[in-house]
Amino acid sequence: MPKSDESPLVLETRGITKRFDHIIANNNISIKLRKGEIIAVLGENGAGKSTLMNILFGLYKPTSGSILIDGLPVSFDSPRDAIAKGLGMVHQHFMLVPTLTVTQNIVLGKEPVRLGHVLYKRARRSVVELSKRYGLTVNPDARLEDLSVGLQQRVEILKALYRNARVLILDEPTAVLTPGEVEELFAVLRNLAADGTSIIIITHKLEEVKALSDRVYILRRGELVGECRTASASAAELANFMVGRDVVLAVERPAPRPKPEPIFSLESLFVHSSRGLPALKGVDLAVGRGEILGIAGVEGNGQKELCEVIAGLITPDSGKILFKGEDVSRWSVRRRMDAGMGYVPQDRRVSGLVLPFSVEENLALGRSDRPPLSRHGFMKFAALRAQALQLMENYDIRTSGPEARVSTLSGGNQQKIILAREFSRNPDFLLISQPTRGLDVGAIEYVYRRILELKERGVAILLISMELEELFALADRIAVLHGGQVVFESPTATTNEAQIGEYMIRGRYERSIS
């Protein structure tokens, strides 16, 4: 139910511009938010959404332009000012201290104190009250790190409400949630809006815009390119606006081979996490040549350990990792790579690339110690250069040259470097984790195409992704990881997002009786 235009304006920005050294992240952006309204700020990655929100929240200072609250201009020097004016923010990467309790996290920064002494009883009471009032149940004494992602997000929302937020800003709120959790979150947000809270959600997902918002602003390359009532625009129109061209989201997926010859498998694999808790509890999986097996699941259900144990960074407590008939579970990373296993890690900046190194140096990682790149321990720089130039051409890596620092490249180009490095090794098996996180649509299409090409060549691929869309676009079969176990496995053709989503949350499937 869209709010009428007569509701009072709560928040307004006029001509906000933000310039980082050379980049204009936001250019002359003006938006309006009314009481009880839900608006969406839609844009691709890098469109400037997060910058805008950080400005609204006082983390960045705008280069020019002004913010008005209740019609009066304000200036935020720090989040403190924004909070004082009734703004609350739920960040994409939660701003929660994992070692503190729920109560401590909620009251942090606005603790009830007497002489510097925190009145925890009173704090706990307000948290309980608050969560009752908004139906956001959460155990106030639990440690944050023990909660599921969905519950952690609840704590984030409670944090804002505890500060009497009248405007709630949510940055990519559904990125880490299961479909079921998304529904719950939307219900909560609708309730809040009905209660008079104004809400801004920042997202790049069209369905969410359609499902939740009253109005939508569309950002592209730092500029506001459109604004409309959600009800009056179709998803295709919005997508067009956002990308500036027609997007073909569906990829043509080659049919799975009838009976792929299995080349890689896990047999009752047990692994414990770095905190000493069981993370994988008896995982069995098998991938065949020319097959893509997708792993669905909510983050934190063992994906990290699964990647590390297959890549060889940690050793399993028990169980086998079979590759071409041999148990590789005790092999070094290097030996696995040499045998034909490859790994595209999830966080390219942390585990994929050496950011201060040049493109050519990054492309040499993992093969620097043998011909042609080096001989008897001495590097051959001409060979390094030649390899880089070739891969840059083959994989369409756009840089100022092979000696450009990787840290200066865009996310898409960084990812292409990793793909080039892994794919050019001609692996027989490839583990790919979250290959498109943070990439724009163009780059995503490219990555999909290369992955499917590899599959055509007969490579066995294990694809871990939090995005169901991605799995349904690429995988031949989908398995669901929940609580460190594979709770479900099915050919993609015979399942659907709802079913997978259900397994992701509960670990089991209850046929709804409708």
């Binding site: 980082f20 980049i23 992240a25 890098g46 997060s50 910058t51 950080n54 929240f57 983390l59 960045y60 720090s78 989040p79 403190r80 000012d81 924004a82 909070i83 004082a84 923010m89 960040h91 939660f94 701003m95 929660l96 201290v97 994992p98 070692t99 503190l100 401590q104 996290n105 942090l108 920064g109 606005k110 603790e111 104190v113 510097g116 002494h117 925190v118 925890y120 944090k159």
Partner: protein, 319 residues
């Protein structure tokens, strides 16, 4: 053999244990406060040295050891502000800055030795040391072993013990403690809740400076009566080790410091007994070896604050 242990494990040994643990305790608490707030502080060695120097100097010219103590604390605090400015505001690497601060402290105290005393090595003795104010707590001090060790000491020793429990309480129950923990675990969370991480870290480093001031003053005008160049002798680093061994917790750190105090007291006692004909160096080296052993044995048991040693830069984190 039994005689040997009887001669060794006297009440004096335990008293000495607590006494010698005191500077390490202060410095280790300083390390806890800093590291919990996310700052790796290897500058403590130098900060302590500056504190020791100024405590001795102010104590000497004023003739009052309490003024000396204040002088030492003020100097340490000021000196540590320089560290804070470098790591928090200028975003220089914590460990590198710490190393430079130590170099600066050695140079500064050596130079001021020449300026104030006109010589190198050891300063003039203060007229009266803080050791003068030793007092026993009635009743408690009569408990065998524990009494003389903990309840017949000097004010600074009592203060170090009180500080331990005070800090345990601060971390557990107060707003300051909560802010320090958040700043060390997830600084951005604290910042987005409207509390300045810069300010919290400045405060933490300042507090650590004050605590190092106590430690330094203890060395120069409590345990001794003058300042000697380089008299901290690695205690800043031992404190860092005590902090790790104690699991970043005040009480744990206190126990670790007591352990170092005990090793130190033991080596002095064995040396003075002269029962064993072994070069004294073997004993002097005990605390350093003990540190390595403690690190080797305990380091994996606890988790350091997630953001310790990492720079925090609000706008730098953006696109």
């Amino acid at each position: 053999m039994i005689d040997f242990f009887a001669a060794l494990l006297t009440p004096q040994l335990f008293e000495a244990t607590v006494r010698l643990a005191t500077p390490v305790t202060f410095a280790a608490l300083a390390a806890v406060v800093c590291e919990r707030s996310g700052v790796t502080n290897i500058a403590m060695e130098g900060v302590m040295l500056v504190g020791a120097f100024f405590a001795a100097w102010v104590g000497w010219i004023s003739g009052n050891p309490w003024l000396g103590l204040l002088g030492g604390i003020a100097a340490s605090a000021l000196f540590s502000l320089l560290f804070a400015w470098a790591v928090v505001s200028l975003h220089i690497n914590h460990v590198v800055t710490g190393a430079i601060m130590n170099i600066l402290a050695f140079g500064l105290t050596r130079y001021l030795m020449m300026v104030f005393y006109g010589r190198q090595g050891t300063s003039e003795a203060v007229a009266k040391t803080l050791h003068h104010y030793k007092f026993a707590i009635p009743l408690l001090s009569d408990i065998p072993y524990v009494g003389p060790a903990f309840f017949n000491q000097t004010p600074l020793v009592y203060l170090s013990i009180i500080s331990v429990f005070a800090w345990a309480w601060i971390f557990k129950r107060t707003r300051l403690g909560l802010s320090l923990i958040a700043s060390g675990e997830h600084p951005m969370a604290l910042e987005t809740l409207g509390r300045s991480v810069y300010r919290v870290r400045y405060l933490a480093i300042l507090i650590s400076g004050v605590l190092c001031g106590f430690a330094g003053a203890f060395l120069s005008i409590e345990n001794s009566n003058s300042f000697t160049e380089g008299m901290t002798n690695g205690r800043g680093f031992i404190a860092l080790a005590a902090n790790i061994a104690g699991g970043w917790r005040p009480v744990g750190v206190f126990i670790a410091s007591l352990f170092f105090g005990f090793v130190d007291a033991l080596q002095m006692r064995v040396q003075s007994l002269g029962i064993v004909k072994i070069p004294s160096e073997i004993f002097i080296v005990f605390p350093y070896v003990a540190t390595i052993v403690a690190i080797a044995g305990l380091v994996r048991k606890s988790r350091p604050p997630a953001a310790v040693g990492k720079d925090f830069n609000i706008e730098g984190d953006g696109e």
